[in-house]
Each structure stands twice: as C-alpha cells, then as structure tokens.
C-alpha cells in the first residue's frame, strides 16, 4: 500500500482559487423505502482531500451528488464557505465533478470537452482554447486536443474529464469513483497524480470510493459511511490503527476476532495479558487483531497449525488453526512463507500493544 500523503491546506503553490469549506448539516435523503442519508453531519476543511468510503448503498455517492446539485436532501443543508447552497441549481454551483462512467461529450474533441464550460460562459474562442491546452498539459495529455473521446483510452478519458472539471477553477472538486472503470495499474498511477494535482491547486476535494486502499493512500482524512450515517472520520493511519467501531474495523483492512477474557483494563488472549485500548471491560470478549500483529514461530510443540498460505510478493497471508479449532489470519514477510508452509505447527503470539475488544460473536476466526 502506498504510504498516506498528508498535508494539504498549506501547500497551495498556485494562484488558482483556494479551496472552500464544505459542510453537510443533518442531510437526510430517502429513496422509496431506502434511506440513503440518515442525518449526515460532516465538514470538509478548505484544501483538504476527504475520501468518502463505504460499501455500496451507504450513501456516499448521494452525499457527493448533494454537493453537485444533482440530488436534493429531504432535510438538512449543504454549506460551502458558510453559504447554504441547497437550493442553488446544479449549473450555478462552484464545484467541478468527475464521474464514474466516461462522461466526455462524444461529439466534441478533447480540447472542446475541456473548454465546454468556458464556452458556456462565452469566453472568447482563442482564450478558451489556450486555457484548454494548458489544462490538458496539466493532466499530462498535451497532444490529444484534437482527438475524440472514442479515440482515447479509459485513463486518458478520465484525465480529460478531470481537466474539464478544473476548467472553471471551481473551489470544490468532486470525484465520484473516477478510477473504478480503469485497470489496476492505471488506477494507482492516476490516483497519485490526482493527489499531486490536488495538493498543488489547494482545491477542496471529496473523493467517493468503495476501495479502502484508494481512500487510505491519497486522502487527508477518510469518512466511513454506513447506511447513510457517519461511522468515523479521521486520518488514514488512525482509521486503520484505531477504528472507532467494529464496522470500521471490519470494513477497513482485515481484522481477526480472537476470544479472550477481560478484567478491567487488561485482557487475556492466547495465554497472554495485553492492555485494552478503550474503556475497561469485564468477561468474555473478542479481541480485534490485525493480521500483521500476529506473530508466528515454527515450533514442534506449537498448539496451532498453518492450514493455508497465499503468497503476495512482499508478504504472505497465512490461515492458522488454533487448538480450539478457531482460525485466524496472519501476515508474515514473503520469504517466511517457505518455513511456514501449510501443515507446519506454530506458536502464536500477538504484538505487545493495546488491543481493541468487542462483544463476542458466535463464530470465531477472521
């Protein structure tokens, strides 16, 4: 995973419009029987890249579309720099958007696509063409101006769409899963470039995604949504290390549930007492442990057995069966996967640091 890039607001290096503060205030939106937004309260700071992360149907796209003006909340308001824009028509909002599906106008070439908004504003032809060329250079496509969308690859189309979204120098950039239709390699390159561009322009950006790796790798903060409600909003490292709810813990990364016994601020798990991260608890609990916090040592007298191994290059993920029949996942360095092959008996310990606990669930394992 790419290390999270941080720092935004202070890094504005251009004269472009600085980002605006975007606030969601008690947004409520219902489609028939489905509640898409259930009182969403969230603030996006100026110049920040905030990722809206969640499973499909969690309301993340609806929230974004409320900012763009394509959806209208049943209750609540969207504020940009303190101004309520809930009633402002979509074509009068100061927000550029890149869509999930390819959205370039098929009848216009790349340059005219980028210049579309300028043409709407009746900017003179020479001026708007020069600006479109400048933006195409900005997104790394200096020589495709004359090409039509069907002559561009998917990644190029999304770059042109990004240039089009930036053409009117909006103060908010809305990205609605813009990378989901692209292949894996282009996706990684383009998301890093989006981040670099966002930092240099200092534009407030809301990035909707269901891909946690994408969210963690480029966002200043990640907001996890579930059933139209905000579960947690924090920086990527905290989100991963200290998920606020079991849902976030499950959704972001992989989490083992290992049965343990808590007594106050310590919990005994796998024969060892570890400090509890959070309020004191008592009784049977599930201890939540990331696969990389599980340490496996080959031992002939070990009580656990490796049952499966999947090699991932730099790491390998192993499935380990404990003495009581439950299973957990462990990540080990790739080169260790040879000596920790399936069938090998191992002893299991956990990294010595505070652990999260939750109510015990019926089936153990990951």
């Amino acid at each position: 995973m790419t290390a999270p890039t941080t720092g935004a607001a202070g890094d504005v290096t251009t004269g472009a419009a600085a980002g605006a503060r975007v606030e969601f205030r008690g947004l409520y939106r219902r489609f028939g029987d489905t509640v898409a937004l259930d009182g969403l309260d969230l603030t996006v700071e100026p110049g920040e890249l905030l990722a809206l992360l969640g499973p499909s149907g969690c309301g993340k796209t609806t929230a974004l579309r409320c900012v763009a003006g394509f959806e209208h909340p049943d209750e609540g308001a969207v504020l940009v720099d303190g101004r309520d824009i809930t009633g402002v028509p979509a074509n009068r909002r100061d927000a550029g958007m890149v869509f999930q599906s390819y959205s370039l106008f098929p009848n216009l070439n790349a340059r005219d696509n980028v210049a579309f908004g300028l043409r709407v504003r009746k900017v003179a032809a020479a001026k708007r063409h020069a600006r479109a060329q400048e933006l195409l250079e900005l997104v790394g496509l200096p020589s495709v101006g004359e090409r039509y969308p069907h002559q561009l690859s998917g990644g190029q189309q999304q770059r042109v769409a990004l240039a089009r979204a930036l053409a009117l120098e909006p103060r908010v950039l809305l990205l609605d899963e813009p990378l989901s239709a692209l292949d894996a390699k282009v996706r990684v390159t383009l998301r890093e470039e989006i981040r670099r561009l966002q930092l240099s322009l200092g534009i407030t950006t809301i990035f909707v995604t269901h891909d946690q790796e994408e969210a963690l790798s480029i966002a200043d903060r990640v907001a996890v949504l579930r059933a139209g409600r905000l579960e947690q909003v924090t920086d990527p490292a905290t989100l991963y290390d200290r998920p606020a709810t079991p849902f976030v813990a499950e959704f972001v990364g992989t989490m083992n549930h290992i049965p343990g016994t808590a007594s106050g601020d310590r919990v005994t798990v796998l024969g060892r007492a570890l400090p509890v991260d959070g309020p004191a608890v008592h009784g049977n609990v599930d201890v939540l442990v990331r696969p990389e916090a599980v340490i496996l040592t080959p031992a002939s007298d070990g009580t656990a057995t490796v049952v499966a191994s999947s090699f991932r290059g730099s790491t390998a993920r192993l499935r380990v069966e404990l003495a009581d029949g439950s299973e957990l996942l462990a990540d080990v360095p790739g080169h260790d996967s040879v000596r920790l092959a399936p069938g090998v008996r191992v002893s299991v310990t956990l990294v010595d640091r505070p652990v999260l606990v939750s109510e015990p669930r019926v089936s153990a394992g990951a």
Binding site: A68, A90, N91, S143, L152, S153, L197
Partner: protein, 285 residues
C-alpha cells in the same frame, strides 16, 4: 503549477471495428445478396420497362411528361410541406418526452414505448374512420364556439393540418424507434449532469449536448417520417385530399406510364435522401 506526468499515447486505444467472422464461405453471401437484390430489382426493372415501352420501340417520353403533368408540382409540394410539418411536430413531441422519461421517470419508459408503438397495430382504415367521424360531427358540436373556425381551417385543402396531425400519429412508432436507438447509444443522464456541472442551462444541454449526439438518430427519424408521408395513401384519399401518392393513383387512370415513371422518380428521390442520411450518420461515428 505542478503538472501530471504525460500519459502514454494510446497504442492501447480502444479497438473499435471488430473483424468480420472468418471462415464463412463467401459464396453464401453472394447468393443471399443476389436473392434479395432480385426481389427488389425485378419489380423495379419491370416498372422501368413499362415506362419506356413504346409501340415504336424505346421512348423516354413518360419521364419528359412528369414535370408537365397537371397537378404534379402542387401535389408534390403539398406532400413535402406536410412531411416537413410532420417531422417538426413529431420530433418536438417525442424527443422532449423521451428525454423527460429517461431523466426523470425511467419507470414510465415501457408506457411511452407502448403508446408510441400503438399506431402500428391500429389499421389505418380504422384510424381514418375515427378521424372522419370527428370531422363530420365536430363542426356541429363546435358550431357555437371559436373552435368551429379551427376545425374548418384544419381541413383547408391547400394545407390540411388534419393530415399533419394524422401523420404525426402514424410516424410515432418510427420516430420513437429511431430516437430510442440513438438515446441508448449515449449515457444521457451522465452527459446531462456533466454539462450541468459545467454551468450549462437546460436549453444549452438539450441543443448543444443531446441533439448533436443524436444527429443520426434525428436524421433517420426524419427520413422515415418523410418516406411515410410521401407514400401514405389511405388516410389522405379517404379524407379527400390530394397529396402526391393520391395524385399518382389519380394520374394512373389517364396516363399509366407517367404515373409509374413518377413512382420510380419518387423512389429515386427517397433513395437519395436515405443515402444522404447514412452518409451524415457515418460522418458522425
């Protein structure tokens, strides 16, 4: 201002034209095409033969007489006028309705489709019986209202508006099919939202984004409507108007060769329009 690194230019550009299926014997294509060609060409060749056949041998007189035949100009102009008006009305009716349904009420799509296809299953004779009943009794009921003049004016033989209205109904299925195919080929909601996001007003969205991308669909809807109006006989004849097709039948009584020559001439005209439409469509893609 930091720029993104240049992306590789597409060697990987999306492959557009698929290769034809190979291994299919060419001879079958020739056979099928020849059979289809025979089916169309034999009656036309026979018609042509009829128009140039003369006791003294070959004569192109029938073609020379087309333009001087009484009523040719006025009936053709009437038909072209009716066609133009029908095209305008049918497009103004279907395109906004289809866009509105697609954007605002996708669930109504099947309803719209059924309504637009209905004229195909109603026989023109039934249709015209209904219209003539209305025209017969309408003036009686409307005698004391301002609509009396309207219903009379609709039947002005110089430009019978009632025929335009009837043709609009008959052309609905064809216009709907063409536009539906065109709308299916583009992602209307996304394009509309992209344009709105760029600051475009609704009229701008329709005329600068939707219409240009539907150009070939609009052209084919117009062409089908034109072909329908230039060939429609039942409704016009039974309502006692004399546009082009009615005139051809009328003239065939006295000048059979000229009437067939005119038919071939109008066929040629239609083909030329079709060719123009398909060339325009090809330029778009």
């Amino acid at each position: 201002m930091a720029a993104l690194t240049p992306a590789p230019l597409p060697g990987d550009a999306p492959a557009s034209s698929g290769r034809g299926r190979k291994g299919r014997p060419r001879v079958w294509r020739v056979v099928v095409l020849s059979l289809a060609a025979l089916y169309f060409l034999v009656p036309m060749a026979a018609s042509f033969w009829f128009t140039v056949d003369d006791p003294q041998g070959f004569s192109a007189d029938a073609y020379g007489q087309i333009f001087s035949a009484p009523g040719f100009g006025s009936s053709l102009l009437l038909s072209l006028g009716l066609a133009a008006a029908t095209i305008v009305v049918v497009l103004l009716l279907t395109l906004p309705a289809m866009l509105a349904v697609r954007l605002g009420a996708p669930r109504l799509r099947p309803v719209l489709e059924v309504v637009c296809t209905l004229p195909l299953v109603v026989p023109p004779i039934t249709f015209v019986a209904g219209i003539s009943t209305v025209l017969r009794f309408g003036p009686e009921y409307l005698a004391r209202t301002p609509f009396y003049q309207t219903i009379i004016a609709m039947q002005n033989p110089d430009f019978p508006v009632v025929l335009v209205l009837a043709y609009v109904v008959l052309a609905l299925p064809f216009a709907h099919r063409s536009l539906d195919a065109g709308l299916r080929a583009i992602d209307v909601p996304t394009l509309v939202e992209a344009a709105r996001n760029c600051g475009a007003s609704w009229p701008h969205v329709v005329f600068r984004v939707i219409v240009p991308n539907l150009r070939s669909a609009l052209a084919s809807a117009s062409f089908l409507t034109l072909a329908l109006v230039l060939g429609e006989f039942t409704v016009a004849r039974l309502l006692s108007f004399q546009p082009f097709p009615v005139w051809i039948v009328y003239i065939s009584g006295s000048q059979a060769q000229v009437s067939v020559a005119v038919s071939l001439f109008s066929l040629l005209l239609t083909w030329l329009v079709l060719l123009a439409v398909s060339v325009a469509g090809r330029n778009r893609s």
